[in-house]
């Protein structure tokens, strides 16, 4: 076995100051269940993508606290765990503009973004290892698609906003930059637009009327043979 995993051995963790024995090799959420807590807050998809379960924890041999997602963090000997509320940052009512965005569009809703002191705290807490500060700097430079790319894997846990000393909401900036980039994508999806036109123009109407009036045997035949499907002129 190249990956240590001995579920039988017990380790000690600390939750809200109290110590508990739990099996090694389980996640923090699983440890909460083991110590008898039925979780309602601080739990979500259990797959690392919903951002409901941010935690901060300290290990015995380390000075600095770390952050993570409880469903994605394995318990360690002596780990002291505190659950944080999921994203409590203030959300601007940031609608999409009518015209293509400019460098200033983001700042309209998130003006504090420009105050970034490049302290890197946001990047250091991100459970997704996003280059958060790089994203904020790119936003300041008006590089929207670059911001969008950097925040692709953002789970909106809000840890970055919680540690920002100048109240930037990097995940919300990333979100808005992504929406602006998507809605004002520089090139048309020609195939999609063409297909929408074809549907509107009734190109498939005769196929639909044949299919929807077919009995199960006839439908089966259309499904089973490419030749029969071709006859529908699709």
């Amino acid at each position: 076995m190249s990956h240590a995993d001995s579920p039988s051995s017990l380790i000690r963790i600390e939750v809200d100051g109290a110590a508990y024995p739990v099996p090694a090799g389980i996640t923090v959420i699983q440890a909460m269940w083991r110590i008898g807590r039925s979780m309602i807050h601080g739990v979500g998809c259990l797959g690392g993508v919903c951002g409901a379960c941010p935690i901060t924890y300290r290990l015995p041999d380390q000075l600095a606290s770390k952050t993570g997602l409880a469903c994605q963090t394995a318990v360690r000997e002596g780990m002291a765990i505190t659950f944080l509320p999921s994203d409590t940052s203030k959300k601007a009512i940031a609608l999409l503009p009518k015209e293509a965005p400019t460098q200033k569009t983001l700042f309209q809703y998130y003006p504090e973004t420009r105050r970034c002191t490049a302290c890197r705290a946001c990047s250091s807490v991100c459970p997704q290892e996003i280059d958060v500060m790089g994203g904020v700097r790119a936003a300041i430079n008006g590089e929207l698609s670059n911001v969008a790319e950097k925040f692709t894997s953002c789970v909106m846990c809000g840890l970055c906003a919680a540690v920002c000393e100048v109240q930037i909401k990097p995940h919300r900036v990333g979100m808005y930059a992504r929406r602006l980039t998507g809605a004002f994508y520089p090139k048309e999806a020609a195939g999609l637009l063409n297909r929408i036109e074809e549907v509107r123009a009734g190109k498939y109407e005769s196929a639909w009327s044949q299919l929807l009036s077919a009995d199960e045997a006839a439908l089966s035949n259309y499904c089973g043979s490419e030749e029969a499907a071709q006859k529908l002129a699709i």
Binding site: G44, G182, L192, R195, Y204
Partner: protein, 528 residues
């Protein structure tokens, strides 16, 4: 060297030969035989007859039957049915379908209240990795999409629901892009598409392997921007009816103070999602924590008919190792770009692009017949040979396309670019659900349903990428139809008469409820 390491070595040794191997799809007869022998849907002892209600006499799994025949949490409670909220449309569930419906209804001018068990966005939607099927390429068409889905669903799909799904696909893709969903694109601007199991043409739109997260982030942002009234941590515990067959509201429960919340609504829309956390037949699940099928027993008690309530999707490739990842999905898309399934001896045993039910059955067969690999925790699985992705498509391809997968395994020091991982089927999706028409209305007047809680669109087996499409197409349709209905009617009286009738039926059939339903959460906490 352990058996596991030894078998892993066989996987890398057999790789070169396997890459040249061309394995045909199974004949319909062989596929049918495989599924009947090994698919969990055919395990008779896992099923029983439903004794009361609209589907009495039909079969489903014990876990669901117990909930359908279960006791209401408000039975015997004295609850004053004086509304705390009066709205046009009450939406239950804050996943992709519920959020989409809320946007449509709000835009139509309806007074909307969205109540959800956890937070807005907590759902299976956020976890969807593979993509969304829309026929956008020139050699493809909505008709092909229809035929593929019908074939995949064993001809049991409702043809009209399915036609509407595939035909509106292109239009809803455009809508999503207009509100800022960033799908992967080709250099010429066209949507980047990929193949999926059971689909004759590539038609999966995606955002890396974060497609559901991308959709949910944007929809959630829109719902917040539109200032839809929200009640989080407030699941539904019972519907309210007028005693004459129409739905008129619901009773919710605030999980933080245990108080009931009575809502009078002209229309109610259930978008309560899936069923994975029932752990049917003891399977692990890929589903989120709240996927406990809440909408089903609630609608059933009020008299709504279910359809295809006996069929479930077991996704072929749920992780079985390391132990904390058990049940977590490894996206099917990874097979569509070359990853192969391999048994303990390093042999391939199925064409990886068969439909999910066939691939899952083949994995179960390998393990049942002694060709599986055992994990230290005693689970069984087969190898998913992911390093092949980079060998076939070039170095860096896997990391670029599947950053989520790479990150999840790397947290346990497993580099999926270099080594295979162990997988086994995981309970993934409820193929059936509450019967609906093309407007998303159930057999109960003014009760609408959208998303995984509904049934009929996918037949007996859903194709990959059709559920993200389903939640958007039917979220929109149900949201619009429910909002329109609300303009045509007045608020109804609030009663629990359907419960009285249900209790009479229980008594008459001699049914002793085995559970209180809805379940709301799985019971994982250790009792001291």
């Amino acid at each position: 060297m352990s058996d596991l390491e030894e078998s892993k070595k066989l996987v890398s040794e057999s790789r070169a030969a396997r890459m040249k191997e061309n394995r045909a799809l199974l004949s319909p007869q062989d596929k049918d035989a495989l599924i009947r022998r090994f698919h969990p849907d055919y395990k008779k002892e896992a099923y029983r007859t439903i004794r009361i209600g609209p589907n009495a006499g039909e079969q489903t799994v014990h876990e669901l039957a117990n909930l359908l025949e279960g006791e209401s949490p408000v039975a015997g409670e004295k609850i004053a049915l004086t509304p705390h909220h009066q709205v046009d449309l009450l939406i239950i569930g804050g996943g992709g379908a519920g959020a989409t419906a809320a946007l449509m209804a709000k835009a139509a001018g309806a007074k909307v209240l969205l109540a959800t068990k956890l937070r807005l966005g907590d759902s299976n939607t956020v976890m969807a990795e593979g993509g969304m099927q829309v026929a956008v390429s020139a050699e493809d068409s909505p008709v092909r999409h229809f035929l593929d889905t019908l074939r995949g669903g064993y001809m049991k799909n409702d043809p009209m629901l399915l036609k509407t799904l595939v035909e509106e696909g292109p239009e809803v893709a455009k809508w999503l892009m207009d509100i800022g969903v960033l799908f992967d694109r080709e250099a010429d601007g066209n949507l980047s598409i990929r193949g999926g199991g059971g689909s004759s043409k590539p038609r999966l739109l995606r955002c890396k392997d974060y497609t559901g997260l991308e959709l949910m982030r944007v929809l959630k942002d829109c719902v917040l921007n539109q200032q839809v009234e929200l009640l989080e941590f407030s699941p539904i515990v019972e519907l309210l009816t007028d005693g004459a067959g129409a739905c008129t509201g619901a009773i919710l429960k605030n999980l933080d103070n245990n108080q009931h919340i009575v809502v009078q609504a002209k229309t109610v829309l259930l978008a309560t999602g899936g069923i994975g956390r029932l752990h049917i037949q003891g399977f692990p699940t890929s589903n989120h924590y709240g996927a406990t099928a809440d909408g089903l027993p609630i609608a059933y008690r009020a008299g709504a008919k279910l359809t295809l309530q006996d069929t479930f999707q077991y996704h072929p490739t749920g992780a079985v190792y390391p132990e904390p990842m058990a049940g977590i999905l490894v996206t099917e898309a990874i097979r569509s770009v070359g990853a192969q399934l391999v048994n303990v001896k390093g042999e391939r045993f199925i064409n990886e692009m068969e439909t999910r039910d066939a691939v899952a059955s083949a994995v179960i067969r390998e393990c049942a017949e002694g060709r599986g690999v055992e994990t230290p925790a005693g689970r069984r699985g087969v190898w998913l040979d992911m390093p092949m992705v980079d060998i076939i498509n070039g170095e860096g391809n896997l990391a670029h396309r599947f950053p989520n997968m790479l990150r999840q395994f790397s947290r346990y020091q497993i580099d999926i670019r270099k080594e295979p991982v162990l997988v086994y089927p995981t309970l993934h999706y409820q193929n059936g659900g509450i019967q609906i028409n093309v407007d998303g209305e159930s057999t109960i007047r003014n009760l609408f349903v959208a998303g995984e809680a509904s049934g009929g669109i996918h037949g007996r087996n859903r194709l990959m990428g059709n559920s993200l499409l389903d939640i958007i197409v039917y979220g929109r349709r149900a949201g619009r139809a429910a909002a329109k209905r609300a303009t045509e009617i007045s608020p109804g009286t609030l009663t629990l008469q359907h419960l009285d009738r249900f209790h009479e039926a229980q008594k008459k059939a001699g049914v002793e409820p085995k559970a209180v339903s809805p379940m709301l959460f799985p019971d994982y906490a250790k009792k001291n």
